[in-house]
Amino acid sequence: MASMKARRIQPQMSSAALDIQGLTRRYGPLTAVDSVDLTVAAGQFLALLGPSGCGKTTLLRLVAGFEQPDAGLISIGGRAVVSPCGVGLPPEERSIGMVFQDYALFPHLSVEQNVAYGLGRATGRAARVAELLALVGLEGLGRRMPHALSGGQQQRVALARALAPRPALLLLDEPFSNLDAGLRQAVRADVRRILRHEQVTAIFVTHDQEEALSLADVVAVMLKGRIAQVARPRELYERPLSRDVGAFVGAANFLPAEADGFIASCALGRLTLARPARGAVEVLVRPELIALTPDPRAPHQVTERSYYGADQLVELRLAGGARARARVPAWHDFAPGDRVATAVHGPVVAF
């Protein structure tokens, strides 16, 4: 099901950079990765998004070859790296690059030597190292030892090192989690630029939805060992396939509603549905889709307001008692007790 989603995104993709079918990994009684299907097209940047413990790192390590699956197939660049009888190629033969969460730089080698490590005795080795150091903005730091670098610099060395041998697939395990928030923004943008420049297919694991949505071409949401949805960021956010995905990706109001085709009636009025539904359902309404107008005769009441500068989060008690949150521009000051009228922009989804 998930793989069909992925193929719908890239329907004519003849050579997928990564193709996973029915991949399963158990640890005793628990199944960390549960019959996962996933396809990543060449050149794509895919985010593997999930809460901690959902199995996403295990999935990444299975692809890399540091773990052996109990069942399933993996092929990288059209080449099977795990055969149907369960025998896997060792990591060094999979043509992958990996950026580790703690970077795992070689502490006994300089920056240059770290980057050159995967290049063997290839000609143009020095040129490639220089090119990558320039690309990641570390020109002139080649002779430093890793411990004399800041966290952001170590991260870039790890990236340069993984990219140097031109891997068919780059795997990044929570690459930004060890950076402080201010640095993270800049490094994210840098990484995206670098990956574009190298035209590499990449998968990165993250538990940060904003990171996944803002950085990736395609996001695969993983919940409890299974791929719940694979979609472009916008589709994932606006049309989640399940309630769980909707709740995990971004803030969400779930309101009881009565659906009839493309229309659902709930406390916020008659809403347009993106997918037809029928009967008693729950609709997902993102907080920023709700517009508020002060109206003393309106049935909804403000209970709480948090001011964020650019916008504000307003908590509401709707007619009928249901609660909802709206994220609205800050030009009107709402206060608890205010009566407001609501309008919902755009279609919503029902479950």
Binding site: T57, T58, G151, K224
Partner: protein
């Protein structure tokens, strides 16, 4: 559509992760361990075929006394050594002790003193009619408290063997990430609490390994207990072996000694902490900043000084005394050249062989923990547990009966050394491996290197301090080793140790002094080398650390 309890879907620890079975490592380790277990198999065979008389000897009260005495000596030496070594390790790694580098070297020097020389020096200085008593005689001192028995043996063995704990703890301490301690400080712990709650638990594997080495050393030592007349197993076995035609009585006693050792191994297993202590905080640690001792610096210096004075000064003093006495009596220095060359050759080859044999076992134990690898590691420890005389004896019979081609050759002697001292190499390599981030190896695999290439280009340089420490330990112990050299050495292959032994056993103390001093000198040289290597490995890190945070790179161009 199996539903999984969400809370349970945590990533299991790295060590539990399944990887392909390491057949090559398993095969190599099994080969090495088979070599070690062989003499023990022979021993068991001899004991099993022993008559009821030999077994009956086990029930005599003297045997029980020997058993409890040996156990008390081993545990006491290990405990006392740890108590001495732990503060010294901390002072020389983490504090601003004056002359820190000097003490770091000087406190290791007792390693260069063979135990039988140490025992001899103790008797010559502190015994009845010894140098101290003679010096005090004009003051009317007729006799000193007796140096013979448990107390003397315990003191002497501790002074010989505490550096083993010092080495393992110091290596571990250097690799502990100071950021972890800083984190504890930030959470409100004082220096004392940090030491007890954070540092000590991290050092636990190293302490356990070091203390175990010391306990096993004390159990298998022959020189000290025979000279200080304490009835431990080795002395009893030697008496039995020499005193009767039927050697199976010695085999039965030796088997008991094996059991005692197994008890110690079990104890070590209990105190060893979690199997994996890899650094998890950050990729690369910063060098540690020394703790200011304040008013405690002079008591600390006094502590180190008295330890060095006892451990190095005392034997050096005694030997010099005898050497000068010999020279003044007109005794010519016996030619030492051949013996020195033989000792060096055998020691270096044995060190190399032991480290090569230790690598597969240590890697298997740390990277692929499981029942089998644990069994293999324990097996490797068995040879160290046996007193040298028993291993040598077993190998003599084995060599004579099974591989007569090797009997009384240098390879056979080297095998004997490796069987005896393999755990020293395994322990050091294992400790270094445990403190290494396994992700670094995975990074190398992901960059297209095969396991063997990863081993040479990443793992080996990173555990090099451990490899070197292991090799140095084996080299030093081998040069000092006596019983195996005596029984397995090729005929016409005199070493320094056998020279000292033959002279000492004939009470020709003046003749033993020169080769004994040379032995100490050679061992000290090897140790200086080891320390220099250690500092060389640290130097580039410290150098680069000074430029941390500055934007100007590559100042060494």
């Amino acid at each position: 559509m199996a539903t999984v309890d969400h809370r349970l879907t945590l990533n299991p620890p790295a060590t539990r992760r399944r990887t392909a079975r390491p057949w090559l490592l398993l095969a190599l380790s099994t080969l090495v361990v088979a070599l070690v277990v062989l003499p023990i198999g022979y021993l068991a065979l001899r004991a099993a075929s022993a008559g009821p008389e030999a077994w009956g000897a086990l029930l005599r009260p003297r045997t029980l006394r020997v058993f409890t005495g040996s156990a008390a000596l081993a545990l006491g030496t290990a405990a006392l050594s740890t108590l001495l070594a732990l503060p010294v390790a901390w002072l020389t790694v983490a504090s601003d002790l004056p002359l820190r580098r000097f003490w770091a070297v000087a406190t290791l020097l007792p390693l260069a003193v063979p135990s039988y020389i140490f025992g001899f020096a103790m008797v010559a200085v502190l015994g009845p009619r010894g140098m101290l008593q003679q010096a005090l005689a004009p003051l009317g001192v007729e006799r000193l408290p007796s140096i013979y028995g448990f107390g003397g043996a315990l003191l002497t063995l501790t002074l010989c063997s505490y550096p083993y704990v010092l080495l393992t703890v110091r290596a571990a301490l250097r690799r502990c990430d100071p950021a972890v301690e800083e984190a504890a400080r930030s959470m409100g712990d004082g220096p004392r609490a940090v030491f007890l709650r954070v540092l000590l638990p991290q050092l636990r594997p190293a302490i356990a390994v070091g203390a175990l080495l010391v306990a096993l050393y004390a159990l298998s030592d022959f020189g000290v207990v025979s000279l200080l007349q304490f009835d431990s197993f080795t002395r009893a076995i030697y008496m039995q072996y020499r005193g009767s035609f039927d050697r199976s009585g010695a085999a039965v006693l030796a088997l008991m000694l094996v059991l005692l050792t197994l008890g110690l191994l079990w104890l070590e297993h209990l105190i060893r902490g979690r199997p994996s202590m890899s650094r998890t905080t950050c990729a690369v640690a910063r060098p540690r900043r020394p703790v200011a001792l304040g008013p405690w610096r002079w008591p600390a210096v006094l502590f180190c000084a008295s330890l060095v004075l006892l451990g190095v000064g005392l034997p050096l003093f005694a030997l010099s005394y005898w050497l000068i006495r010999g020279l003044s009596n007109g005794q010519a220095l016996v030619s030492l050249w051949q013996a020195s060359a033989n000792s060096l050759l055998a020691g270096a080859l044995a060190a190399a062989l032991a480290v090569v044999c230790a690598l597969p076992i240590a890697i298997l134990a740390v990277r692929h923990p499981g029942r089998l690898s644990q069994l293999l590691e324990r097996g490797a420890y068995l040879g160290y547990a046996l007193p040298g005389i028993v291993v040598a004896l077993a190998l003599v019979f084995f060599g004579a009966n099974v591989v007569p081609l090797l009997y009384q050759t240098l390879p056979m002697l080297l095998i004997g050394y490796t069987v005896r001292f393999l755990p020293q190499a395994v322990g050091s390599v294992r400790t270094s491996l445990q403190l290494m981030n396994p992700r670094v190896e995975e990074a190398a695999r992901a960059l297209g290197r095969r396991p063997l290439s990863v081993l040479t280009s990443v793992t080996t340089p990173l555990v090099a301090p451990g490899l070197l420490a292991g090799a140095a330990l084996v080299f030093l112990t081998t040069i000092k080793e006596l019983p195996t050299t005596l029984l397995l050495g090729p005929s016409g292959f005199p070493t320094l140790a056998t020279m000292v032994w033959s002279a000492t056993s004939e009470a020709l103390f003046t003749r033993a002094a020169a080769p004994a001093l040379l032995l100490m000198l050679l061992s000290a040289l090897a140790m200086a080398l080891m320390v220099a290597q250690d500092h060389a490995a640290e130097e580039p890190l410290r150098y680069n650390g000074q430029y941390e945070g500055t934007s100007h790179p590559a100042t060494d161009e």
